[in-house]
Symmetry: C2
Subunit: 218 residues, 2 copies
């Protein structure tokens, strides 16, 4: 069992792995908000534990074991977020920090029970997939709204970033997961989009926002 700190490093590595192909010490240090020597020191320990493959001056790689540990923590995080929203009435913008702490609780039973009570959900409140008990997670191939053409109809399925700021912005715009969006117009100058969706017929969203909305074209 890795310590709580090590679990956080593994989680960060897991996420970096899904973006870049080559994870550098610097990437991880930025993601963990610690100095590079700290990361250097830590990856050596993570290697001794068999969670990471590390060779001097080479990119970092998660081992299968490390990837599984990370996925199971993400599972606990996302189940917790879903539980907080669905069973305890929290808003989707309030749950991240709480889940960040509860994800380290050592109790299979607790999370299995949440899973059961939630009816074995496949995604968390932000649309991110929940890994199964063996650490596998299927990532639906949603596209960014910003990549869709004018006239497209698409359902909002997930967010590429669940920062409090974005979530509060979407709350204000009354944009929710599952809603059907229709791209009415794309402004050629700045790629901002005019979107229609329930209760909002012509809302303008900037490129920056559309980049973070993952949709399923219908």
């Amino acid at each position: 069992m890795p310590t709580q700190t090590k679990e956080n490093y593994l989680k960060a590595l897991f996420f970096l792995d899904h973006k870049h192909d080559n994870i550098t010490v610097t990437d991880l240090s930025k993601s963990m908000q610690v100095s590079t020597p700290t990361v250097n020191n830590m990856v050596k320990k993570l290697q001794s534990g068999g969670w990471v493959k590390y060779e001097k001056y080479k990119p970092l790689k998660l081992t299968a074991k490390g990837r599984k540990v990370a996925a199971l923590i993400i599972r606990k995080h996302r189940l917790t977020e879903m539980f907080l929203v669905e069973k305890m009435g929290f808003g989707w913008e309030e749950v991240h920090d709480i889940a960040e702490e509860i994800e380290h609780v050592n109790s299979e039973q607790l999370f299995d029970r949440m899973d059961e009570m939630l009816g074995f959900p496949k995604a968390d409140p932000h649309g991110s997939p929940i890994p199964d008990k063996s650490g596998h997670m299927l990532e639906p191939d949603y596209i960014k709204l910003s990549a869709a053409k004018a006239g497209t109809k698409a359902r909002l399925r997930a967010l590429d970033d669940s920062s409090m700021e974005l979530l509060l912005y979407l709350n204000k715009k009354e944009l929710e997961l599952g809603m059907l969006l229709e791209i009415r117009e794309i402004e050629p100058y700045d790629q901002s989009m005019t979107i229609g969706y329930p209760k909002h017929n012509n809302t303008i969203l900037t490129r920056e926002v559309c980049d973070k909305l993952l949709v399923e074209v219908v």
Copy 2:
């Protein structure tokens, strides 16, 4: 904000405070399962933080501030236990260890929400009182069943010890909080009691067990 470790020391001090009048370094070291030098070192830090009053070779004392911090953690612990039992279907013998971890989660909202969902309970699943948000807790003056006379009718209200072993034993005997107990007979030789209660007319409980059952005479 004390660290998680310090919170555990304060909690232990709080409980010791309710038993002995003079808390010694040795008491705390036994309760925390660490060496006396470790405790010695820690109480100095707890003093700098203003949670404990400490003078060399003198008994340890919690300050008002320390007592409040401890009570609030106990509040979080007991609300969590209650939530796990009432809202998530756990058995009263399963919840201690999980609550031991969740009690350190830093979110007033989480515990307030539990409190609300539970209807502001006054006791946890083992009958222990739940401190209020300002750290105050009223302890009902239940008596030990072992202190009652033959013929007494009393309601089981709380346990003086919630070890897994006792809880599993009580499960086996189908003894639950709130049940009306009637002392049919007390064996003079070993003080074991013959008790009647729902579905069990003549169960013998040893002195050791009766010492841990807190009742309200009716």
